[in-house]
């Protein structure tokens, strides 16, 4: 047992290492291949116009315009391995600090959205699957199909229009109240400001999980053991609780942990609409502003989180399905 665990952890460590190296290389290559001129993007054309040639050369050096890419990559990688993520060119602060601030904002939003969409999606999927063909099923399915084809930013604008502008129930954005000092901002304020963005993210995140769970639920409902259980008079909640739950959970868990990447992606747009200062906004700023150290770090952190999500799914499989835990093949 113990040895199996060591092998398992070792394998994953190697995987994570290879993944990080590959991702950093690809990100770097993409960044270098991108047509963005860092001076133009960060200093601005009008400011460049008021600048002497000498000053421009100084700036080009700062933004690493003339350093050979391979040397640039190696020096970055050398620092990174030693735990130094570098200084953000854009924010002029250590990258770790920038990410910590942004991540703490985003994380709250993303975790809320992720949990709501998972639980809600699962429940809807189960209800819909157990009532296949009935009105509830049609309603849920219709809802999921509509939502899954709705772009997140459009939904965000819609919610903003309805709840903030017309009904004035929620703030128009930001993560804290306007003009209030940090000491006066309560936890409830933060929750209140996260409601709409989190809602947007969870509404769009629901459909995928609900639809897949529904399929699995239908499969389960048609299986021999459910037929047998029904024969004995089991139905409703008890039927689901003892015969459906674990079986249905597997696809939901896989999808849900894989969907971490989607929540990441969706949050970029949603944060933009709600002026919410998260990692998504920082990633966009870093990408458009050629902030190499920051973008590399954000990419790697996101990759690690997504990888962590998948790993968690793998571990949870074992908990949910004893057959996997015992190492036996799932039939």
């Amino acid at each position: 047992m113990k040895r199996r665990w060591i092998v398992f952890i070792g394998k994953n460590l190697i995987r994570i290492l290879l993944l990080t190296i590959c991702i950093s290389m690809v990100t770097f290559a993409l960044m270098k291949a991108s047509p963005i001129d860092p001076l133009q993007a960060n200093v601005g054309q009008a400011a460049l116009g008021t600048m002497s040639q000498e000053q421009r050369e100084k700036l080009e050096e700062y933004w690493g315009v003339n350093t050979p890419p391979i040397r640039q990559y190696l020096s970055w990688a050398g620092d990174f391995v030693r735990g130094d993520m570098g200084i953000s060119l854009l924010y002029r602060q250590p990258v770790t600090e920038v990410i910590a601030v942004k991540l703490s904002n985003s994380l709250f939003l993303m975790i809320t959205a992720w949990i709501i969409s998972g639980v809600l999606g699962f429940l809807l999927g189960v209800v819909s699957g157990m009532n296949q063909g009935k009105f509830v099923d049609k309603l849920i399915r219709g809802y999921c199909l509509v939502v899954s084809s709705t772009p997140a930013f459009w939904l965000a604008l819609l919610l903003l229009m309805i709840f903030s502008v017309w009904l004035q129930l929620f703030p128009i954005g930001l993560s804290v109240p306007i003009g209030v000092e940090a000491s006066g901002v309560t936890f409830l304020d933060r929750v209140y400001h996260a409601v709409l963005p989190a809602l947007t993210l969870s509404i769009t995140g629901v459909s995928n999980i609900a639809l897949h769970t529904r399929e699995k639920m239908i499969d389960v409902m048609q299986s021999d053991y459910v037929l047998f259980a029904r024969m004995r008079g089991e139905k409703g909640w008890r039927l689901f609780r003892y015969y459906g739950f674990r079986n249905v959970l597997l696809p939901a868990v896989t999808l849900h942990f894989a969907s971490i990447s989607e929540i990441f992606g969706g949050s970029v747009l949603v944060e933009q609409v709600f002026s919410y200062p998260g990692l998504g906004q920082a990633a966009v700023a870093a990408g458009l502003g050629s902030d190499l150290p920051l973008l590399m770090a954000i990419t790697i952190v996101s990759a690690l989180i997504v990888f962590g999500g998948n790993l968690a799914a793998n571990l949870l499989y074992g908990m949910i399905d004893p057959r996997i835990r015992r190492g036996g093949a799932v039939k």
């Binding site: 009008a46 008021t50 700036l59 602060q93 229009m161 128009i172 954005g173 003009g179 002026s275």
Partner: protein, 547 residues
């Protein structure tokens, strides 16, 4: 195990319910308190309301902090730094006034500026502001500057407590314009994190900065000048859509907006427009095509000065402003309209007949397809614009339409900035400029002897007389003298860059900066805004008031 999972699910759905509940409570209290606030305001009015909330584009947030060395106050967005005081200030008409400085003068050779400063100014941490701090600020800027250009400064030296000497590497008569944007930082409280917690001696204290969202300023009670009327200023960073939504829901007092939203009616708000020198225009390469280092310089069609003159008067700028900017703009005739160094000879009247006559006279005859040609050269060029900039794109399209009437075929093309600079050496590009310094004029029209083909940097053009006037302007003994020389560089009666001269650039319009402003808020007179829709509006926020 099962139990745990179920317990977790239950707990979560409960928590979700609680959250939703909280949200509702919260919103109700928010609403009721909003109402009572308004009542209070109505009741007490003028005397109590001294706060204002202003939105700005997300790009206005100074990512690297409120540090002059990293561009706070200068650069793409030239503005008063509010938190810090500057030596000089620019007045309403963009001439130079004094702030910290009590006097300044420049040596005969233009290489030493001596500035005396007030002795009664304290930083908000209680320490006095001395000439040492001034010298430190400028030397620090020179060493680290990311946006401002300090290459003309050799070093700054404090000769006594209230006198500072700037030793220059070259004469630079417009140095007072640099002094108007550099906020003085305290040497004793400066480190690499200064930009995050700035200390200054300006009208406002930065109370809080929620990165990516808002900055809260409070009036500096110890301010040495007139006490600010607005005691609290909150600046929010958001996109135009969000700013519009914020105004529609009544949560902000001033919301920045664009011409495309100018027809929106928002109850309780008025549209407020500010004149700018935020101009748009395109370059016309002035030489025959030639190649160097893989870059083509020059354009066979626009190399003919008569073609450039015809284009300049063949464009109806007002029509363009009405079409593209909903009327919110002013016609532009130079890169520096209305600045003290602007030469009014740049102005021309729209005259399509004359434009056609010039083209005919120059030998550009209409071909069978309606496009003019001469000696096998077609009257055509590609007009580029930066992709993603809808205003520049629309201006390029409008230019193409208008020039088609003259028999000139213009194709528009969106390009990225990575290739735009090199391609602009041979094809016209739609640019945006507008700064509170004549340096821009210099960089656009002055030749660079050691780069490219030895002509002006952004578009091939060279005129010795223009160069000389601008060199003299930089070496001039006083600003007044330099203004005259800058004007002469534009047109001295015989040569220059105007319609009668070489006209190497065509200027189209200055884009108005637009804001939705809450009724009752009196925004103090604005000086002409430079390029960039950001901080300029609150340059004088201390003088705003509620009626």
């Amino acid at each position: 195990m099962k139990k745990k999972i179920i317990a977790f699910l239950c707990a979560f759905s409960l928590a979700a319910g609680v959250f939703a509940g909280c949200g509702q409570n919260q919103e109700q209290t928010a609403q009721t308190s909003g109402v009572s606030d308004e009542k209070v305001q109505e009741g007490l009015q003028e005397s109590t309301k001294d706060e204002v909330i202003v939105t700005m584009p997300t790009t206005s947030e100074p990512e690297s902090g409120f540090d002059p060395a990293y561009g706070w106050g200068a650069g793409e967005h030239v503005h008063e730094p509010l938190i810090q005081s500057t030596l000089t200030v620019t007045n309403q008409d963009l001439e130079i006034g004094l702030d910290l400085a009590t006097d300044y003068h420049v040596s005969e050779d233009g290489l030493t500026w001596t500035v005396t400063i007030r002795d009664d100014v304290k930083f908000t941490d209680g320490e006095p502001l001395t000439a040492e701090d001034v010298a430190f600020t400028y030397n620090n800027c020179k060493e680290k500057s990311s946006v401002n250009d300090f290459t003309m400064l050799e070093e700054a030296v404090a000769t006594d407590n209230t006198t500072v000497e700037f030793r220059m590497t070259r004469p630079y008569s417009i140095w007072p314009y640099t002094m108007a944007v550099v906020g003085i930082v305290p040497e004793h409280a400066y480190d690499e994190n200064y930009g995050q917690n700035p200390i200054g001696s300006g009208r406002y204290i930065m109370k809080q900065w929620d990165r990516g969202q808002q900055v809260i300023f409070e009036a500096n009670p110890e301010y040495y000048g007139e006490a600010p009327k607005m005691k609290k200023v909150t600046v929010l960073f958001m996109e135009e859509d969000a700013a519009l939504a914020a105004a529609m829901s009544g949560q902000v007092d001033v919301a920045h907006t664009a011409a495309s939203y100018s027809d929106q009616q928002i109850e309780g708000y008025e549209l407020f427009r500010v004149d700018t020198v935020d101009n748009r225009g395109f370059n016309l390469p002035c030489v025959e095509p030639q190649e160097k280092d893989g870059i083509t310089y020059g354009n066979a069609f626009t190399a003919d000065v008569r073609v450039r003159r015809a284009i300049n008067i063949g464009i109806d700028r007002q029509e363009m402003i009405d079409n593209v900017l909903n009327g919110y703009g002013t016609a532009a005739y130079s890169v520096c309209d209305k600045m003290p160094w602007y030469n009014e000879d740049c102005e021309v009247a729209y005259d399509p007949e004359e434009a056609v006559r010039i083209l005919e006279e120059a030998g550009w005859k209409e071909g069978s397809d309606g496009i003019r040609e001469k000696d096998g050269v077609k009257a055509e060029f590609t007009l580029m614009f930066s992709t993603g900039d809808s205003v520049r794109q629309a201006l390029a399209e409008d230019t193409a339409n208008q020039l088609r009437e003259l028999g000139i075929c213009v194709t528009t093309e969106g390009v990225g900035w990575d290739v735009a600079y090199d391609r602009a050496q041979s094809d016209p590009l739609m640019w945006g400029w507008g700064a509170h310094t004549p340096m821009e004029l210099y960089n656009i029209y002055h030749t660079l002897s050691d780069s490219g083909i030895g002509m002006a940097g952004y578009s091939p053009y060279a005129n010795e007389a223009v160069d000389q006037y601008m060199d003299q302007a930089l070496a001039a003994g006083s600003l007044e003298e330099s203004y005259e020389l800058w004007k002469k560089a534009q047109w001295d009666g015989t040569t220059g860059i105007t319609q009668e001269g070489d006209i190497p650039w065509i200027w189209l319009c200055n884009v108005d900066h637009l804001y939705f402003v809450r009724d009752g808020l009196q925004i103090a007179d604005q000086k002409i805004h430079p390029h960039g829709h950001g901080w300029s509006i609150i340059n004088n926020v201390d003088q705003w008031n509620w009626e």
